[in-house]
Structure formats: structure tokens, C-alpha cells
Symmetry: C2
Subunit: 419 residues, 2 copies
Amino acid sequence: MSSTLCENAIAVGRAVQEDRLWSNLMEMAKIGARDDGGVNRQALSLEDREARALLISWARERGYAVAVDPAANLFIRRGGDGDPVLIGSHMDSQPAGGRFDGIYGVLAAFETLVAMDDANISTQRPVELVAWTNEEGGRFAAGCTGSISWAGVKSLDSFLDVVGADGVTMRDALEETIDATPDIDRRTLGGAAHAYVEPHIEQGPVLEARGLQIAAVTSIQGLRWYRVEVTGEAGHAGTSPMEGRKDAIQGALRAIVALNELMLDPTDTVRFTVGRMEIEPNSPNTIPSKVSFTIDFRHPDEAVLEERAGQIAKIVAAATTPCSATVTQTSASKPGVFPEHLVGLIEGAAQGLDLGVMRLPSGAFHDALFVSQACPSGMIFIPCVKGISHHPSEYSSPEDCAAGARVLAACAAQLALEG
Amino acid sequence: MSSTLCENAIAVGRAVQEDRLWSNLMEMAKIGARDDGGVNRQALSLEDREARALLISWARERGYAVAVDPAANLFIRRGGDGDPVLIGSHMDSQPAGGRFDGIYGVLAAFETLVAMDDANISTQRPVELVAWTNEEGGRFAAGCTGSISWAGVKSLDSFLDVVGADGVTMRDALEETIDATPDIDRRTLGGAAHAYVEPHIEQGPVLEARGLQIAAVTSIQGLRWYRVEVTGEAGHAGTSPMEGRKDAIQGALRAIVALNELMLDPTDTVRFTVGRMEIEPNSPNTIPSKVSFTIDFRHPDEAVLEERAGQIAKIVAAATTPCSATVTQTSASKPGVFPEHLVGLIEGAAQGLDLGVMRLPSGAFHDALFVSQACPSGMIFIPCVKGISHHPSEYSSPEDCAAGARVLAACAAQLALEG
């Protein structure tokens, strides 16, 4: 059920300036700009440091307090003491990334702080922008290291020896990045927060298709990854009778057909993808002796994940006969469910601002999945064209960017104003 | 219908000596022997020349006439003038080949000549062993160059500029090989033959499974090769609803399922294989945007090939919707049907020698496919363990090798004795 926000909170939302936000987004997109219109601003790189420096300079102009923690998470605070209302996202991009993924949430958060100034509002709780380090995991393979270590899901130490694509360890890259901003406060990792709200582009096609500007994100899907290996028997394509063949491609194909059946869902909530497939010997006139394929299975409900995932091995074994098959789980994460009071708040803010809104689970991971283990968290999605992300052509319109920032500003104000 | 062979022909078959044939096979297998028990004796290589020299030395001991043509096809003749009965196969192997593919047919032919000596028989027509050059195509990519150019299917000139894996042209390799045997007769390419009979290992599992020693080969299957490209649309595995996806793996899978239906054959004569598949971007959490796969389709009857192949494009288009697909033919050859008088002769020879025999089409290509365009041709298959060939573990027993040589010797004698 959606909340009704106070007048002051809605006023802060209305104080968001579309042009200012867009101008900041375009200014930031110059850092690491690619010739194809995209952005290459990988975690803890020179470009990441340059982006941080620019944001810090904007914060200074406004008189906000700036701090960094040992995970190089960057904090920009407006207002006094106590557990802050955290708002933000991440600044790093994929190597061939776009201009919105991550950075949009950070700049919407910055616009929120400024809108509070413009609305001339004082809040009981501080509102604090956070830019989490290395969400993408493009340079350092473990993603979300900033939010994971802040929330205590894993220790920062467990990431320090990760070696980047360029041979640099995360330990050294963190040190270099933190040392690049010697004049800001240092703080320890972690700490309490009243709530966390993260705006982000949807990275899917639903909002655009429905003609809505806002999604109140209900949850982040849980995930199971598997690697299936089907072993058959090689043979000459011309001389081996069909009867008696152990064709590993045909075995894999029967397995996928059977898994398609298992994953059927009239509500279209299940996500089931076979994205990778490898064939041996992969020769046109040889019966394949081995085929491996991946399963990416997601659902917002852990019980559904458990129930269907539990049938995969048996179904694969039956379908691949007379080939043999092994099924190995390569990754698993439980769904993150966002608390109703924040989902309802985001929904209510959109309604109060006359913006079209729906509830939507998130198919992709986000820092909020991990932050939600330390404090109540929520997410706001805005549309992105054709659902494209992690690509130079990623795009959200100035109007949609402003709509998301308005909802964020109203929510942050409401959370910071309330007792 | 099987022929009844004359007593003299059967006597020549019975004169074949299992030990002598096996000893020659094992002696020849030392040339190019691999550590894993296989043979690497590629066309026109030093090993090929060494093998030729050994065979020529054996021929000299027996007093047979030896000749070579411009395609380096090697001929060993027993008996007088007139159109010869040609018997043989090829001496070259795959780089990781076995001890029987090709060379077995050549040494069974040599054993035939010797058995005729032992049986003290004079034939009206000469019997001539032939070892065709470069059947495998392992070093020089076009295979069967010796038999193709001898039969006039293509000119030898069309192969001369082919460059081997080692950078040597076929022109130079032919010259070196011919020059390595300066003391044997040179003859021109081509010429008439009364008939051609080629013994070979089956390279399939049928004879072993049926417990038979001999197949009278009825035909060599025709072939159609296609490359199918299915184009879908990439997307995030977590965020893209199942409804509306254009998943190229799922499209390719539906196409293969539909093609399996098309290729159903209760007689198990059709051969249909998808041996190669390539996926883009081949990432576990991205919906595949492009999948290509190969079709290898064979049948002994050109009408069946035409009829089913004609439906492939339409079936693929329907099955891959909403993806799009293209189907490109990459290779095609018509079936070669062996004349009944030779199939029946081989069958009759096996029966006359009390050997279990069946009729069988050949799934693989052989020199006989091309020779059959110049003179009546036939083939004799013997079992090979598990149907394995083109592999170091390729094996046929001494008993089976002798059985095939007996049938060849009896057939050659019958053909050479008759008017």
C-alpha cells in the first residue's frame, strides 16, 4: 500500500531541476567518454578518480561534508548528526558501458541534496549521498565490493588480493584512489543508516513498454547458476546409424526442451536463460562427444527457486539419456525483498508527484541487495530505451531522469523529516 | 542377386595367407608410427615416400611391373596386356590416423597378387594394384586428388597450386615424390580399366554389431551440407521477460527439433548430424543474439536427398520465429551407386568362401566414388572395432583383414579370368 507523503517532502521533489541534473550527467559522461558515445570508467581507474574529484568539487561548492572509507566508498552529507538517510548508487562503468548505469543514481542523489537546499528545508536526520566502489566488477572480477564490505556481508580483506584485468591488485588500486583525495575525511567501514534508497535505470523493457516513468522495486531476484555437461560418444556423421548414437548436442537439446517445460510460468516471473554452450569437437561431420551449457535461473521467491532448481538434475539426467550428464551449481544468491514501508513510500512519492508508477522486481543485481542486509533499503527504477544497458547506446531521457530524482528527493525528505 | 564364382576364383581367395597379410600391415605401420599406436603418414610426405619404396621393393621381389602417373598414383601389375582389373585403395593417413584406413586396401590388393602366384593361376586380364594419392586431404585440403584426376572428374592442374599445411605446394610435393622413384615406369594419367574393387575398413559399427565379416557396398551416400544462422536479440538474462525474447539458442533448438522430425526414417538410412554450433556472445547471463549451426545430411538416394533438403529452409524459417534465419548450402555431392554385377560378385565371393556378408551403403567418401565415373567399381568393407577410424585406436583383427582380402582375391580372379 502506498504512503501519503507530507507536503514538504513533495515540495523537495518538485524542487528537482531537470536541466541541472541532465547537465551534471552530461558533464560526468565526458570522463572516460568513448568514441561510440559510451563510457569506459572502470572501478578505481584514473577515470573513476577524475569523476570522484569532480563530484567532490561540486559538493565543496555547496558546503557538504565529504568522506571516504577504506573500501573507497564516497560519502557526501547534508545536515547534522544521527543515522543518515543514505541515497546513491555507483560511479564505475563497464568497459563498454553507457552514460547512466550507476552514475545516474549518484547524480540523482546529488540533485536531491541541492533540491533540499533550494526548497530551504532542514531535516532531522542527515541525508547522505553514497557512491559505492566497484559495483560492476568489470576490472576487479568480484562486483559490489563497496556495498558488500560496508554491509559486512563479506570482509573487505577478502577482496584485497583480487587482481584486476590490468594486473593491479584491488589493495593497491584502493590505496591509490583514497590517496588521490587527501583533503577529505576518512571514516571507518560500515555504520548505521536509517534507510537506503537507490535510483537506477531499469535495464529492462517493462517501464518503457507500459509508458510509466517510475517503478517501486519490490525485490531483487534470487539466482541459481548451473553448468551442465553432457557426455556422448564421437562418431562419423556419415557412417554411424542414427539408432545407437550418443549425440551430445541432441542430448543437450532434449535437456533444454525439458527445462523449458520446468520453467514455464504463466505470470512470466521466472527468468530462465541458456546463454553459453560449448561443443566438442565442434566439427560438421563428427557426432559431438561433449556439450556443456549454462543455466541462469532467477526468481524473486526463494521457495520457487528451491523447488524448481531441485528438479534440474533429475530432469537433465532423464532427458540426456543415453548420454550421461553432470549438473554443477556455479553460483547462488537468495532474493532480496525490500520492506513494504519503503516500496509504499516510493509508490506514494510517485503518486504525490503525479508520475506513473508500478511495482517491479529487479532482474539484475544492485548494491541495494547487499545494503539491505544492514539497513532497510529500497530502489527506484526509471525507463531506459529498449531495456539496453551495459552498452554505449544505453539511454534514459532528461524527463525520466528528472522523474526518478523527484521521487528520490521526496522519499529522502520524508525519511529525513520523520521522527 | 549374388553371383556364383568359379572354382579357380575361390581357390585364389583361399590362397590368401592371414599371417603374411598381417605381417605386411604391421611392417607398413612402422612407417610414420606414432607413440600412441597410430600412424602419421600424410600424402606425399617423407613417410609416404618411404611406404611407397617398401611396397615397390616387395613388388620387385615378386617380379611385378611397377609404374607411377603424374598424380603419383602407384600401379603394380601382375599379368599381361589389356584393360586391367584394378584393385587397391590409398596409402596416406590422417595426421593422427590409424594403421588400417587406406593402407589395408592396398596391402589386401598386394596379398591378392601373391595369392594368385601361390594358386599358380594365369589370368586373361592383368590384375593391377593401385595406390591412389592423397585420399585423406589431411595435408593438401582437397582429398581424393589421385582418383579424381585419374577418372577425369577434375583435372590434375586444378590441384597443383593447393598449398599444404606445411607451405609446400602439391605441384612440388608430387614432383619430389615421383622423382624419389626414378627407376620405375612413368605412365600418363587415366586409362581404361575392366573394373575397380576397393577393400576398406567400414569406419562404422554395423558389421561388428551384426557379427559379419564382409559388406558388399551398394553405394556411397550423397551429401548436403548447410550452415544455418539464427539471429535473435541480445538481452539481460535477469531483466528481460520471457515473453518477447528473441533468444537465438532457443530458436536454433526449435529448428533442430523440427529438422529431427523431417529426417525421421524408420529404415535408419538417413544420416542427419548437427556437429558444430557457435553462439554469440556466449555469456551465461546474456540472451544469445546469434547462433550458427551446421547440417550434415546424407542418403544413398538422390531423390530422397533432394526431397528432404528442399524442405530445410522453410522448416528452419518457421521454427526459428520470432528470430530470423538464413540457410546456406556449403557442399553437395550426388550418391555413387555401384553396379549390381559387382555388388553381387562380392556377395557371391563371400558366400563361396563361407564368410558372413551383408549389403551396406557407405557413409564415408572413398576413391571408389570417383573411380566409378570411369569404370565399373565396387567396394568390400570389413569390420573395425567400435566403428572407430581416423584415430590411433582404429583396429581390425587379422581374421577380418584376411577375410576381406580373400573376397577381394576371389573377385579379382573371377574378373580377370572371365572373357
